[in-house]
Assembly symmetry: C2
Homo-oligomer: 633 residues x 2
């Protein structure tokens, strides 16, 4: 009697106990890719157990969240002595050798940039102790004995016990009796250790951390298992503050009244806590087991998160209240993890170069032991640029707007499952073919999709250098409505939203403005340090606009300078990754503080040359076509 049924095909086979699920699919003549040859490394042979038990070891390649929802690697799963129903479906988001979970945005992080050989030294660590039971007349309090036991394991620095910890000590030390174990969560803060939690027994494995990137448009939160430094899952969402203004200046204006400052603080907290709670739920992690967090964000976002009036960031001489924020507790900030968990906030350089950039810089080779000059461009709602090497580090910022994150684009969306990330244009018919993240029905278009679309429309002659769609050649994809023209990418039938997905000339103009702001800032920056783009050895591009940035297309639209493509490296959400690196490594925190202090901030807004540069860049790729020889090859 067949004991394995495959869905949606309904095919069934009988396989003895111990058979590999991958083998069983072959027996049932179901095609499933396994390019690694069944070693459990490529992550392609994904299946979902609908009912019945199997013996599976898919963790590591699949996230705990996916595993908890029944996903397995067919090659790492053995049939047991009971009937089982298995789903093998294209509907499971799966591509490029990676499993894509709809509720997990880990795909947006370039995990390949994480150090391969990693000795985790997390900022917050758990230590298991045996604290001797009290003795008559030894004169020691519970806290004395605990401190003594701790000092046998850690450096003899002052150990600080916050008040809320102290009431639990007496019970916890006695719970497990003689030779009983207790687990202490300890964080390093300047000059001392801080006790975060004390639990009875050995709880060393239940220790998690958060890396948080707070962008003006997008917030990303990553859940990390601290003892192993493993990323369990990442989730992103729009910053709920978007309702109060699309860029930092409008947020600062909005925050002028104290109750509105508090509203903005509550809005970003709502976004962060929503993501935290989703991550905890999806990964079966108790919020209280999250014992540390690292937050990176631009200076305004951090001011708003902490309820600091951002007014003077906007007014000359652009002075923020604070750049290096002391370690705070999650309870103080109101992030819903363990209230005593220490939250380390990435140090900022100036009003417009924040902790997102000092975090991002950790993911680049700039400022390492090299004389080669590197350029780092972080493309978000603000664009920030860093140029330097081991000897100097200069930085500036410009306002790009949220277009690359799907903001200010009618049918724009974050780079999440369902986002169009590539659009090909048929040169003759003008008709599109597209690709979505997760290979599911399209729901909108993300930043990389916009770049791909505009570059291809431009190169096929369907868009002119000023960003206007071709109205003379006829194609069903271009619809003209009065003075406005639209490009239709997805018909109503194919769309995942029930509405056609289209891009207007206004949307295109927003992208052109954004790319012009960034290109001209980079260009002016080069001028100011007396270098040319050609002098650069490496260019690192960061941004939350997609999983992969097609450098070719970015050069085509004039977002990036026309340099040999091999000099480019796309590093994704480097702010989030830098936060991760600080979370799991004390040395990274140290390095980040040093970098922040080394960087010299240049104010572009007071430089009259900037407006000239910007105006010149408001074309595809640029008014000066000599700057982009490869585009006109």
């Amino acid at each position: 009697m067949p004991n394995i049924t495959f869905q949606p095909s309904g095919k069934a086979v009988d396989a003895p106990s111990g058979t590999e699920l991958l083998e069983a699919t072959r027996e049932a003549q179901i095609e499933i890719e396994a390019p690694c040859g069944g070693k459990g490394t490529c992550g392609k042979c994904i299946a979902r157990i609908i009912s019945g038990k199997v013996d599976s070891d898919s963790l590591g390649v699949l996230s705990p969240a996916a595993v908890s929802r029944g996903y397995v690697l067919a090659c790492q799963t053995k049939i047991l002595d009971e009937p089982v129903s298995v789903e093998i479906s294209e509907q499971i988001g799966r591509e490029g050798g990676q499993f894509i979970d709809e509720t997990d945005d880990t795909c947006l992080v370039r995990c390949d940039l994480f150090p391969k050989e990693w000795q985790p030294t997390p900022l917050s660590s758990k230590i298991v102790l045996e604290v001797p039971q009290p003795q008559l007349a030894d004169g020691h309090s519970d806290l004395d004995r605990l401190t003594r036991a701790l000092h046998q394991k850690v450096e003899k620095k002052d150990i600080h016990y916050p008040l809320p910890i102290i009431p639990q000590i007496a019970e916890t030390l006695r719970r497990e009796g003689e030779n009983g174990k207790v687990t202490v969560t300890l964080a390093e803060t300047p000059g001392r250790f801080q006790v975060i939690r004390i639990e009875p027994g050995d709880r060393i494995a239940r220790h998690f951390g958060l890396a948080v990137d707070i962008g003006t448009t997008t917030v990303a939160v990553q859940l990390v298992h601290l003892p192993s430094a493993a990323v369990l899952a990442t989730q992103t969402a729009y910053n709920d503050q978007v309702e109060c203004g699309l860029d930092v200046i409008s947020r600062i204006n909005y925050a002028r009244k104290p109750q509105r400052l508090e509203e903005l603080r509550q809005r970003v907290l709502k976004t962060v806590n929503h993501l935290v709670n989703q991550l905890c739920k999806g990964n079966e992690v108790d919020n209280k087991d999250i014992g540390g967090a690292v937050v990176a964000g631009n200076t305004t976002m951090i001011h708003l998160l902490l309820g600091l009036p951002p007014e003077y960031i906007r007014l000359e001489p652009y002075t923020p209240t604070i750049l290096e924020i002391p370690p705070l507790t999650a309870g103080e900030i109101e992030i819903e993890i363990h209230p005593q968990a220490i939250v380390y906030i990435s140090p900022a350089v100036g009003s417009y170069v924040g902790g997102d950039i000092t975090a991002g810089l950790l993911c680049t080779g700039i400022a390492r032991e090299t004389a080669d000059v590197g350029l780092f461009i972080d493309i978000g709602t603000n664009g920030e640029i860093v140029i330097g090497n081991r000897e100097f580090l200069m930085t500036c910022a410009c306002s790009a707007g949220p277009a690359f994150e799907g903001g200010g684009i009618e049918q724009g969306m974050r780079a999440a499952v369902g986002a169009i990330e590539k659009v090909h244009i048929h040169p003759q018919t003008g008709m599109p073919t597209y690709q979505t993240i997760g290979k599911v029905k399209p729901r909108g278009i993300c930043g990389t999709g916009m770049i791909s679309l505009i570059a291809n429309l431009f190169q096929t002659g369907w868009l002119d250098p000023a960003g206007k769609l071709n109205r003379t050649k006829k194609t069903p994809a271009v619809r003209v409505n009065g003075r406005q023209a639209y490009y239709i990418i997805v018909s109503q039938e194919e769309s995942g939203t029930g509405e056609p997905i289209m891009v207007s000339e206004i949307d295109i103009e927003n992208v052109i403005r954004a790319k012009a702001a960034i290109y001209s800032a980079a260009s002016l920056m080069m001028e100011q340090v007396g270098l040319k783009f050609g002098d650069l050895a490496n260019i690192y591009i960061a941004g939350g606009f997609g999983r992969f940035l097609d450098i070719e297309k970015a050069v085509t639209i004039g977002l990036l300078p026309d340099l040999p493509r091999e000099k480019y490296r796309y590093i994704g959400n480097s702010s989030l990754m830098g936060a991760y690196m600080v979370l799991v490594s004390r040395e990274s925190r140290q390095r980040q503080m040093e970098l922040a202090r080394r960087m010299t901030y240049i104010e572009l807004s007071t430089d009259p040359a900037y407006m000239n540069q910007y105006t010149g860049a408001l074309f595809l790729p640029h008014t000066d076509i000599n700057l982009f020889p490869s585009v006109y090859l």
Copy 2:
């Protein structure tokens, strides 16, 4: 036309503008003492301005609270060119050269013990700064500039800014414009300075601190002007926890349920905050201007204040959760002063020798650079004893009960205005004459009153060694009611409460038990260190039971050993005074921490000899009359 009218006499005189009020009283033939000759130092020529303006400078001798209610020193007050009505009355509590304000218990503190030449180095200090305005491109945040300015005035230690301070910095630094001043309140905590407050302008004079003594029965709070180290006023009240048990053991038992632990915490907070608010109101001090506090109390009281389960204090091996409490903020503890103010809690030695004793020890010469052995006895609801010199310090504790603080005595009261503090007995008639604090109508009897009464009844033969009133000799002062006899001190007509004030044999028994507990503990302690009472060079007696302790009477009842009287020194509420000393001097805090670590705690309750000693002491003065030769002279 007479321009000065004196009340209650109604006498009136005419005096030219500029006349001294003291001179005017003489002109009106009103007698008013001025033993210092009108130098404004003795504080005897007190008057109250009922209406009209005068030119007076009485602060320093009179408390600001008294001055604000119209009290002046007649010798320091000049008549102006307008009519004035002045009260010169015996009703103004005034005695022994000291003004006694009904709402101020400063009289209970032996101010003569405060150092005469004092260089205040308070734990919390205000610093006035000129912080330069921000400059374009200097790369400094507001906080950077503030820290830089601070480091020009204080040691280059880490300066910690708690989160609630940071949002105010931007506005405060800009409020007074170029060269504007800001005042920063700074406290020293281990390894760093902590910013408590930042205010625009020069606010250096408005800086106050609290010394707090939390006793099992009585709570005392003292308001101190920190820049001058001047005590503005002191107030005491019964600890509201008294409702939940009279001694620490019954409080610990009460606290077993978590909601009751919280109830006890709230009760003591209510008492402390009530006193704080009264002091602030009476002295026109804003609670937020109180930027630091020092709290002394026994180990159980401190556990309850902080919400720490006290259970294990009661159970062998008697281990408290914590002895040395890290500096906490007032907001954390919920004391209603500036929420960021640091509260320093006196370090404890053991479960039954707390921070009240390490504070009290600061007021003695024990442990100073001397080989002379000294004894320190703090008589409260618990009695604590310290013996030692520069080489050793031993300490023990016993449970005395609240009798000496007026607790467990039917008509007992705290040593406040209206308390009978001395009772003379006519040897023949058995009739009493008494004295009250503040020379007002009696409202009850305080600890020193009880000692005086019992000693005098005993010495005149109206009380036997077992504490029974003489029923054979007849006196209207002794009333027998069944098996109980009462001694009536105040008749209904003379009483300030409308009820006669009397003491029962049960009340007397409570005092005898209390004195027996203390004497026997001291006696056993001497045995344990291999010394005799006669080896002592100094004996310091502390306690909240009155302003002055008549050592003679205390020896008569057998509370204190029969030693040459000149070896004794009564130091009053030494816990409160020690807290004051720590509040105004960093060196005292340092010394207190060292003392706490040096002290060796002896557990009496496990020593079988204690019960023998105690039983022997349950007589007046003792079963072994050879121990008290002077009583039987």
